[in-house]
Symmetry: C2
Subunit: 199 residues, 2 copies
């Protein structure tokens, strides 16, 4: 057996990364120790700093190391349009892909009564306060296309209706570039029921 | 754009791990910050400790946090048999798989004159000292089956000959469970030239 000390511990701790099993962890540990010790130290320092300083934005609840995140503090953004997503990673993805120039709100999950996730857990009170302020006139529901994601979207749309805010849901259907042959039947039936007239 | 601060820096630093691109790094960062902050802190601490304390074993040159690694300090090991490998990861793999109970020596590379890797870089002097001590009577050359790996094996075998030490090379051929149809021609020609008589 190889040394059971620090090296094994490092390999074990690397396994806490998503998608990393014992084999990759071993490869990572040997790589860092043999070829990139500076990188390892830098990674360690950034991890510590990130854990200490990154919290939730007070306005949109995304992850940030400031009180209010960069997106929320940009004055060029259109505050009347609010995109509602499940996780901070979704903000990142939508903001990179879509030409959306409004603001975001992160639910940190989806309604799931069986797991004890109710309106309080997804920040419904904060969202309602924001609706009450009157700046928001349109919300775009970009929760995932799962049973819970759909239920959450409906719940928030109902909430928005009370404040006369227009709610829309992002389109679900056949991915661009996707071939019908390889699309699952759930997506396909969605695509049919959500068909749009051609001009 | 998402916050360009600490979060981007963390994602960028995670990319220094082998096999981790921007997408996986992003996934890892969000996972650690949202679901496993303790794991992140632990990983950071272990990284720092590992970089500070893990060096090379004075006897076999593998990675260890002690002066002499666990394998070299085991008295139950057979000191007359020495397995010579290219990297510490190889020690780990061989020791887990093979029923080898001797000791190891790590070259940390292979002879490669074009890259400036000569006998000094692979610890030939330390190896020669060890041969001169007289305890080693057999070496098993487990360098990789590449041009450089083969050349390194021949070089060390020549060195061993001076001390009347028997040198052998691990077998290269069709992997156990492998089907001929999917084996590359290099391996197959190796397997033919290295054929053994059946009893």
């Amino acid at each position: 057996m190889q040394d059971k000390g620090l090296l094994s511990q490092l390999i074990q701790n690397l396994c806490c990364l998503p998608g990393v099993g014992p084999k990759s962890a071993q490869r990572m540990a040997f790589h860092l120790l043999q070829q990139d010790r500076n990188g390892a130290v830098q990674l360690a320092n950034t991890l510590i700093q990130a854990v200490d300083n990154i919290g939730h934005c007070q306005v949109c609840r995304t992850l940030t190391d400031q009180d209010v995140c960069e997106i929320c503090s940009q004055s060029s953004r259109d505050g009347s349009s609010l995109c509602i997503v499940e996780s901070p990673a979704d903000v990142w993805v939508v903001d990179r892909a879509a030409a959306f120039k409004g603001l975001y709100f992160v639910l940190h999950g989806r309604l799931s009564p069986l797991d004890g996730v109710g309106p309080d857990e997804i920040g419904a009170d904060l969202l309602q306060q924001r609706f009450a302020q009157g700046e928001v006139t349109e919300i775009i529901l970009a929760t995932n296309s799962t049973v819970e994601g759909d239920a959450t979207a409906y719940f928030i749309a109902e909430l928005a209706k009370k404040y006369n805010i227009q709610a829309s849901r992002i389109a679900h259907g056949v991915p661009v570039g996707g071939e019908l042959e390889f699309i699952d039947s759930g997506t396909l039936s969605h695509a049919f029921s959500g068909r749009r007239e051609m001009v």
